[in-house]
Amino acid sequence: MYDLIIIGGGPAGVGAGIYASRKRIKTLLLTDTFGGQSINSALIENFVGFEKISGFDFAQTLEKHLRTQDHIDVVTGALAQAIQKTPQGFVVTDQAGKTYETHTVLVTVGSSYRKLDVPGEAQFEGKGVFYCSICDAPLMKGKEAAVIGGGNSGLEAVIDLLPYATKIYVLNRSDVLKGDPVYQERIAKESKVQILMHTAPESFAGSQFLESIAWKNTQTGETGFLPVSGAFVEIGYIPNTSLVQDVVTLNERKQIVVDHKTQQTSCPGIWAAGDGTDALYHQINTAMGDGVKAVLNIYEYLNKVQ
């Protein structure tokens, strides 16, 4: 029986794992892969201590550091499917049906990209509708493309597309781009980028592959079409919290409600950290800090009960 099972191998989970090992807490970390959402980033420029690091290298750096720790078991390729309360603590079951017993759980499940849920989106997924710009932007060589969303992920997608697409439209729902000024300044110089404010996609159309996006101006009601071969959907994230929805309290956005001093959830014995929680800001740096806070609090808790 473990003292702690950490679910997830993103910044929060790995930060927690390193601290847990050093505290000699008998710990298991269960994850599909390392790095979480950050692997989709071409270049991370705000992870403190690293001027620039690609998302993939960042994920490998996390894994490498975690694997130098002697007092933690790491199981990869494993997605947790269920958490059940038992008299001694909890049983965690992975997707292969394997079970693990533990006194406490730290949930660092992160989030996944949000879909638009408009007609044609599912039909053209991979056929012009994309969610990973670093992966699929090179397929837009010589083509016109659109980015849906003007936040950081959206503006990063524009930057990923710049070397390839001949024209890049940005469809932004409000009248202000939410992405960091550093990205806005970078794309403002590019004549092939056209930003459409108050504009939302209504549907995707084409034959085998995407050929156009129907859009609507959310202020004037005006409608139109953009002839594009690619649409990169970057409208934020939804927390991966279905695993714990029956065990801990979620807010209306399906985020895990935590005590921000300790990272405790509504269920005694379960803590949570990172993008899956109701933290006000979701950043790599803050997720790591929250994971560490959780483990320090779990350490105190285990010392009290044992």
Binding site: T33, G35, I39, N40, A42, S54, G55, F56, A59, G77, E125, G126, K127, G128, F130, C132, I134, C135, D136, A137, P138, L139, K141, Y164, Q208, F209, G230
Partner: protein
């Protein structure tokens, strides 16, 4: 014959290639952003444009999917 169609910075492509390497399975790595003909082949074979695409002896797998890779390799033996 196993072929992996990928782009330079795609993390899931790297994961798929690492997974095959870990398993000791030889494969041909084709970068579709440097080879337009290969990109066209990949789109024709998979019916879509996203990467990675794995061709494991004519079984086409889109994305990094360990279970699908294991199944394709097993049925190949």
């Amino acid at each position: 014959m196993i072929t992996v169609y990928s782009t330079t910075f795609c993390p899931y492509c790297k994961m798929a290639k690492e997974y095959l390497t870990q398993k000791g399975v030889p494969f041909k790595d084709i970068n579709v952003q440097e080879d337009d003909q290969a990109a066209a082949d990949m789109i024709r074979k998979s019916g879509q444009m996203g990467v990675p695409v794995l061709d494991i002896n004519n079984t086409i797998i889109v994305g990094f999917d360990r279970a699908a890779i294991d199944e394709a390799l097993a049925s190949d033996k």
